[in-house]
């Protein structure tokens, strides 16, 4: 069977129409919807391209989603194969090419599973329906009596397959029309392809080093670019001399207002040229806040407008005023960095006024818009392609490297590669917002929480509401004037909000002299959270381990919900006697996100989330002073590594009766509070800050 290899057939200068003429031997089926509608999960309807059936029986599925290690490529291919009733090998994915892909929005917010997978499934199911209808006509049989299997319909010794369908000219029109309403997809109970553990489709290219990440892209005549950065946030360039750099062999140096950059045939030469430029630059700096008084700063600069984020219940103020047992605490969560293994990277090339950029971003269409706007181009003169890139975690929604490469390429007339250094990534990428959280609560005579007042300053309103049954609640997010550039990070503020809520819940449980598990269950109506909590604690042996506690150790648990999935974690910590720092030795986490599409990938996401969450829980904290990040190196900013790996057990609860929810984010929210509660258990001192530091006790 021949391989249509669509990736290599289309050069950057090819128009969308030309592409379809080239691929036009087959058929095109259209399924998409405007992004705004996609974001709220409306049914498919308007014309876009989604799926192509080749005369060789190979399917090409287009999506605007990107792959950064989270598994969207394989998940979407599985979804198509399931509905088409073909082996996975017959599906080819083309992802995130703004000339060819439908705009599926940003790859973020656990959105691919609940929003894009259904679009692909419907397109594939509609295609299968067309196959059955055509086969029915061919065989003179009611299509309802026919069944597609392995890409073909068999009847009375004859077979009619997708390759035959692709050659049927009268069906072309049907394919190109809007997708019919009411397409039914295969229920989870009948899945043949989805629901089973599958390796990622591109794994061989990743273990052989043959996959080209954005930073690996090469173009003929390409130069390596470097951009002059200010020495501190807010610094303004007063003067710079490009002369010395321009005298270096092969070096091009450009200035366009505040944008100063150079390019050279090697990274080495570009680095030397940038050093020469830096040596001549004079800057005017302005005073900048420091991480030493970050939380006071956030409070002082809080917006005066208080916006409730979650529906409050009852009358919290009155209930607190009337309560006999009131408790309060403040929680601190500092800025952290995504620090993906591949720093920002882009290659830009101009051809006849048209710009093509290969870059690592979760937001290809928005990057295209940024490029068009900044460079004064029509959007259809810009093509953005996103090869599978080296991690993002919410940190690559933006266009920085793409813009820099494009500007340098235009100024020099050469294709340009820009890859940020690690130091640039630490200082100039955006950060997960710091949080100051203030909580106040009251216990009634029955040891139940009677009032709950929760305020998040600066970091956001994700998962800010409490899942616990409390008659009087008020939760608010108050924006502040962030001293650092901040943005999305895996599951947004849900991590900070769960940390504060779950840690404070343990303080209340202790005040109520109740076991933390029992205390939660007595306030919990959400059956899905109860199920994961019970699964995790049963496997962990919560009750038994509460009874046989060893000196210098502690156990803790936490639970939560976000993005329509639920999680609970239990862990054990050992306290270092000298430093008082905790070491996490054992973690059991249960997670449930509806019907499981690919258990192998889900397990990787959950395990990876737990380990990623260990970082900010135990060590990660961005420090800054005088407009500089003072610990912006892996030597100083300690991320999780092999030595931190505890005994780790993940329990996946499958709920085939529920719609699949995304799973790349929520599994991160329980580990930090579980550790905090284990440390509280070990030391008797409540934990109210991340990273969890040396403690008394």
């Amino acid at each position: 069977m021949s391989n249509p290899s669509l990736h290599s057939e289309t050069g950057p200068g090819l128009s969308r129409r030309q592409f379809f003429e080239m691929a036009g031997a087959g058929l095109v089926i259209a399924v998409s919807e405007p992004v705004a509608e996609a974001q709220r999960g409306a049914a498919a309807g308007t014309l876009e391209t989604r799926l192509h059936v080749g005369e060789d029986g190979i399917f090409t599925v287009w999506t605007g989603k990107i792959e950064e290690g989270q598994g969207a490529l394989t998940e979407l291919a599985l979804a198509a194969a399931e509905e088409l009733r073909v082996p996975l090998e017959r599906v080819r994915m083309v992802m995130a090419d703004t000339d060819r892909s439908p705009n599926d929005g940003t790859t973020a917010g656990s959105g691919t599973t609940p929003r894009t997978v259904p679009l692909v499934r419907k397109a594939a199911a509609a295609t299968r329906a067309l196959l059955l209808a055509a086969a029915g006509r061919q065989f003179g049989v009611d299509p309802a009596r026919l069944e597609a299997r392995d890409g073909a319909v068999a009847y009375a010794g004859k077979s009619f397959g997708y390759a035959d369908l692709a050659r049927t000219p009268e069906l072309a029109a049907a394919y190109k029309s809007v997708l019919p309403e009411g397409i039914e997809v295969t229920p989870a109970s009948e899945w043949q392809t989805l629901g089973k553990p599958r390796l990622r489709l591109d794994i061989r290219d990743l273990v052989t080093g043959s996959h080209r990440f954005p930073s690996d892209m090469g173009r003929p005549g390409m130069l390596y670019g470097r951009v002059l950065r200010p020495p501190a946030y807010g610094a303004i360039l007063e003067d710079v001399d490009l002369g010395p750099a321009r005298q270096m062999a092969g070096v091009k140096a450009v200035r366009d207002g505040g944008f100063v950059a150079c390019a050279a045939p090697t990274t080495y030469a570009a680095r030397k040229a940038l050093e020469a430029i830096s040596a001549t630059a004079r800057w005017k700096t302005v005073e900048q806040p420091s991480s030493d008084n970050l939380f006071e700063y956030l409070k002082q600069h809080a917006s005066q407008e208080q916006r409730p984020q979650a529906a409050g219940r009852g009358s919290t103020e009155q209930a607190l005023a009337a309560a006999s047992r009131r408790f309060q605490a403040s929680y601190h969560v500092p800025y952290v960095q995504h620090a993906p293994m591949e720093p920002r990277a882009a290659v830009a090339e101009w051809q006849e006024g048209r710009l093509t950029v290969w870059t690592g971003t979760s937001n290809p269409f928005s990057v295209r818009e940024s490029l068009a706007e900044t460079l004064g181009l029509a959007a259809d003169h810009v093509r953005v392609l996103v090869p599978h890139f080296g991690g993002g975690f919410g940190g690559k929604h933006t266009a920085e490297a793409a813009l820099e490469a494009a500007r340098l390429a235009r100024a020099t007339g050469c294709p340009i590669a820009v890859q940020w250094t690690r130091a640039e990534e630490f200082m100039w990428a955006y950060f997960r917002p710091a949080a100051l959280i203030e909580v106040e609560a009251a216990l009634d005579a029955n040891h139940s929480i009677s009032a709950w007042d929760f305020v998040n300053y600066n970091s956001g309103g994700a998962a800010i509401d409490t899942p616990y049954r409390i008659p009087n609640t008020r939760t608010s997010f108050i924006a502040s004037d962030s001293p650092l550039r901040q943005g999305s990070y895996r599951v947004l503020a849900a991590t900070a909000n769960n940390f504060a809520r779950e840690a404070f819940t343990d303080e209340l449980a202790r005040a109520a002299s109740t076991d933390p598990l029992e205390f939660r269950l007595s306030h919990l109506d959400n059956q899905r959270i109860r199920d994961v909590l019970q699964a995790a604690t049963a496997r962990f042996g919560w009750q038994e381990r509460r009874k046989r506690r060893r000196a210098g150790t502690g156990i803790g648990l936490a639970c939560g919900t976000e993005k329509n999935s639920v999680v609970a974690a239990c862990c054990e910590v050992e306290m270092d006697r000298q430093t008082g720092t905790p070491k996490v030795v054992d973690v059991v986490q249960a997670f449930e996100c509806g019907a499981i599409l690919n258990p192998a990938n889900l397990r990787s996401q959950v395990e990876g989330s737990i380990m990623m969450g260990l970082g900010p829980a135990l060590r990660e904290e961005i420090r800054f002073q005088d407009g500089r990040i003072t610990n912006g190196r892996f030597a100083a900013y300690r991320v999780p590594r092999f030595r931190d790996l505890p005994r780790l057990e993940v329990i996946l609860l499958d709920r085939p009766d529920l719609e699949p929810a995304g799973a790349g984010e929520t599994p991160i929210i329980a580990i930090a509070p579980a550790i905090a509660n284990a440390v509280f258990d070990a030391t008797g001192v409540p934990v109210r800050a991340m990273p969890i530091r040396a403690l008394r006790g």
């Binding site: 273990v207 080093g209 930073s215 080296g390 130091a423 990787s604 790996l645």
Partner: protein, 157 residues
Amino acid sequence: MASIRFTVNGKARQVETEPDRPLLEALREDFGLTGTKYGCGEGQCGACTVLLDDRPVLSCITPVRAAQERRVVTIEGLARDGRLHPVQQAFIEEGAVQCGYCTPGMILQTVALLAAHPQPSDAQIIEALNGNLCRCNDYHRIQAAVRRAVGSVGSKA
């Protein structure tokens, strides 16, 4: 400029270049061997790991002159005649890859570990790989892949 002669993945190579240029950049930019990754530029993450005379080095802080008359193996040089190295195979079988950017360094570090210690203890595995960062934090899978490779490399030898 200096003339550096060395063997890369079994082939004799020569390059005229600045002797203090990082080996990483010569491999990627002069030979197109982009499987070796830039991660930090200061030897703190392991993404740039290659084998120099069978021992792992951090190519981002190794000057190219250090490779003079020596043998370099990159991720591209592990498979033989299209057959994957057992360590690569083990990473596939355990699904020990998410974004894959750290994977070449992890695999080469494992190859070196198993050459030095064909039957490493869990503690030796952790020590050997502790300098290789994975920001997808897939350490649990990677550990399983290394354990799996222990058996397959051993049986091959």
